[in-house]
Symmetry: C2
Subunit: 223 residues, 2 copies
Amino acid sequence: MEKNLFTRIPNHIGIIPDGNRRWAESNNYEKQQGYEHGIMPGFELYELMLQLGVKEATFYGFTMDNTKRTSVQTKAFVKACVDAVEILANRDANLLVIGNENSTVFPKQLIKYVNKRVHFGHGLININFLVNYDWQWDLNHAYRSNNEEQKKIDLYASIASCDISRVDLIIRWGGRRRLSGFLPIQSVYSDFYVVEDYWPDFNKDQFYEALRWYQTSDVTLGG
Amino acid sequence: MEKNLFTRIPNHIGIIPDGNRRWAESNNYEKQQGYEHGIMPGFELYELMLQLGVKEATFYGFTMDNTKRTSVQTKAFVKACVDAVEILANRDANLLVIGNENSTVFPKQLIKYVNKRVHFGHGLININFLVNYDWQWDLNHAYRSNNEEQKKIDLYASIASCDISRVDLIIRWGGRRRLSGFLPIQSVYSDFYVVEDYWPDFNKDQFYEALRWYQTSDVTLGG
């Protein structure tokens, strides 16, 4: 079993699939063509996570800030997100989409997956997908809540992404060493691993190397 | 000038001075003796930052979670924080201490610096010091606020650490690649650099290497 390769597997992995545009440019495509080449890597990773028994994964789709890019790019990454979900609907996963759906850029096809987990097939893994997400929007949700008592007790329970659990390991492709607004509450104790290659150049070894590094790291959760 | 070594200097640097206990053990000291060896490195770094024109730096002192450690360790890191501030009071800096002062572990000597910036000497740099800090305490402050209108408009303006600006570069000593609750709001776009050596083994080259890496990184702030 692949599972026996590792002594410790993260329960929840965050994925920042960056570098699609840089990949496109370096392969003589138009920038926006990078996004469609970012779909299949996600499913290769999905298969590897199933084999290893990872219970939850969150993919950074796009942010509200990202939609300030050119219209042709915005259309391309929105389409890639919709296409990815349509493929996932034929697999075995429980999908939860989190993002600001009260916006014209939010794809209508994904409305039915927002804020409630939908089960596909045998539901072998929880997949969270951040679509038109924004960290301020996420945290401000707690203020918009009417449940005053709950807010005083537990911030985490009041944010928009409260159904997404704490992230153990964040892997970012594309070389940049920053979170770029990815789930600030769930990431406070996350181990952070950076792959230099662009996301469309995903391969199994990058992921395994991240997991090998992760299992050498201790877990203190701030203690 | 040292300043000419770099093409781009971060305005605000976050410092996570980790590895004091591991340094102590590897040098045949008791664990708690590591903290006192973490004071002078901070002043070496302070001098380098002054030379380079860094405008603001935030040091991660200790967290509310840290105080669950043994009493002898807690006393040692609290004392190191107080000693550091007493040395800084004779330098040229504007000090702001942020942390939960409504606790018996919060050092009385630092009460006068909490939540208001105090000017020392020529005030050449803003130094923030997180003392008995906790990320949930920081963010929950927004809920405790009575300014309902402000809360709806701007989360950042309502947190306990609202007078600490966005962090451009976070440097963590001691090899761990995680934020461990360091200013989650100000860190959403921060570049993150890890030094493998323990904090008491600080040297100038580690810092310069971090700055050399930083100037190769682009700034997008989520765009």
